[in-house]
């Protein structure tokens, strides 16, 4: 209810958009509404005094003219906002590309150095630290680029049949150290005779990694993260359940919005970008699947994904999907 009143606060909405009041669509709509009401009343009053039809026509034409001008200003205002959003997205895309080359250089050189057997423990520990942080930076840059592609409708997915089980096992193996450090264990439940899924494996891997990573991050120590994979024709269902910090009712509607982070998460965890669930949702939905979640007050949170299963038909048509 309070959010509805907030939406009606025109000044607050205009301040949020950071545009002048005469460029703010919320305000201009109110002005247009007032003009329509006043003009209807005025026309009624004038019609009572003047019986000549020319006068009524003149009034209607004047009001139409004013409304036309205001509509034009509203449309221009929307155009400016759309252009600004596009320019911002392009800016992110260009900057991310520029950041990628030096980052690739750093990471590849580190990879070569870390293969050296002769490194002393202190040097190795510093290099591991640099490697970890450059990895985070690379992930953030990649995420920003993916968001920019989603927003510009240039996300490229190449669906192929793949095993969700093998993919999940790989991700669990990669996350074992992280889970163990947080005193969390994994439980993988797999239904027999599962068909392969049909989607872009690298992007789905990215989405599952994010969901598993979140499940570990928001779990209470000494609990288990359960991942299950089952048939749900015509889909394959993948679920991850954890026990820990519940998602508050205020946060639920924003959970898949970009840059959103659950209440208090900015204080507790500083390495999340708030892009993971936004990208996961876009990728899953663009693959023809769905994503959802539930969270109870006891702290049990479940995220699930339904992905199309591979069939004879879509196996043959593993074409590139352009969003």
């Amino acid at each position: 209810m309070s959010s509805m009143f907030r939406d009606l606060n025109v000044i607050e909405q205009c301040n949020k958009l950071k545009v002048s009041i005469w460029e703010c669509p919320h305000f201009l709509f109110v002005v247009m509404g007032v003009i329509i009401i006043v003009s209807m009343l005025g026309t009624n009053i004038i019609a009572n005094y003047y019986t000549e039809p020319e006068v009524a026509v003149l009034v209607v034409m004047s009001v139409t003219g004013i409304l036309f001008v205001i509509s034009h200003v509203v449309i221009k205002s929307f155009e400016r906002m759309a252009e600004a959003a596009h320019a911002r997205s392009e800016f992110i895309s260009i900057i991310s590309h520029q950041l990628r080359n030096p980052l690739s250089s750093i990471r590849w050189q580190l990879e070569v150095l870390l293969r050296e057997q002769t490194l002393d423990e202190r040097t190795r520990s510093y290099l591991d630290g640099i490697n970890e942080y450059s990895g985070r930076l690379a992930k953030l840059v990649n995420d920003l680029l993916t968001v920019s592609r989603i927003e510009n409708e240039r996300l490229m997915l190449t669906p192929t049949p793949f095993s969700l089980v093998e993919l999940t096992q790989k991700i669990i193996t990669d996350n074992t150290i992280f889970a163990s450090a947080s005193n969390i264990s994994f439980n993988l439940q797999i239904q027999s005779n599962l068909p392969p899924a049909f989607a872009d494996e690298s992007y789905i891997r990215w989405a599952l990694e994010n969901l598993i990573n979140n499940a570990i991050r928001y779990s209470t120590p000494r609990t288990t993260v359960t991942i299950s994979i089952a048939k749900q024709p015509p889909f394959v269902m993948w679920r991850v359940i954890n026990h820990g910090t519940p998602i508050s009712s205020d946060d639920r509607r924003y959970i898949f919005k970009k840059f959103f982070r659950a209440s208090g998460s900015a204080r507790r965890h500083t390495d999340g970008s708030g892009l993971g669930l936004f990208i996961a949702k876009s990728v899953v939905e663009e693959s023809g699947g769905t994503i959802g979640f539930s969270s109870d007050t006891a702290g049990k949170t479940e995220f699930w994904i339904l992905l199309p299963r591979a069939t004879g038909k879509n196996n043959k048509s593993s074409a590139v999907i352009k969003k």
């Binding site: 590309h97 990628r100 590849w108 490229m156």
Partner: protein
Amino acid sequence: MSKKILFIEDESALQRAMGDMLKSHGYEVIQALNGEIGEHLAESEQPALILLDLVIPQKDGYEILSELQKNPATKAIPIIVLTNLEGTEEIEKALSLGARTYLVKARYTLEEVITKVKSAIGE
């Protein structure tokens, strides 16, 4: 005899890192810092595979792909594009010009690139 890999890339740091990694896996590495030299070396050295960046001086990656495909002496050499561009248009263009595989540098570790190299030359 070790197989030759030609790496066409203008960033010397990437050349060094990739070169070291390829050598540690038993390959002979030929390096080219610009497109013209890269194209010349592809014909004269007949590598088993070419790793090609798209944004390089003198001749860009697309021109090289196109020239190598036209030349009967280099047509059969598998080419892996290794770049940080990942737009739909760039990927489609490179693949249509004859690239075997398209990899985005920022999304691959060197070890993963080596796996792709091995797979492309049938090892």
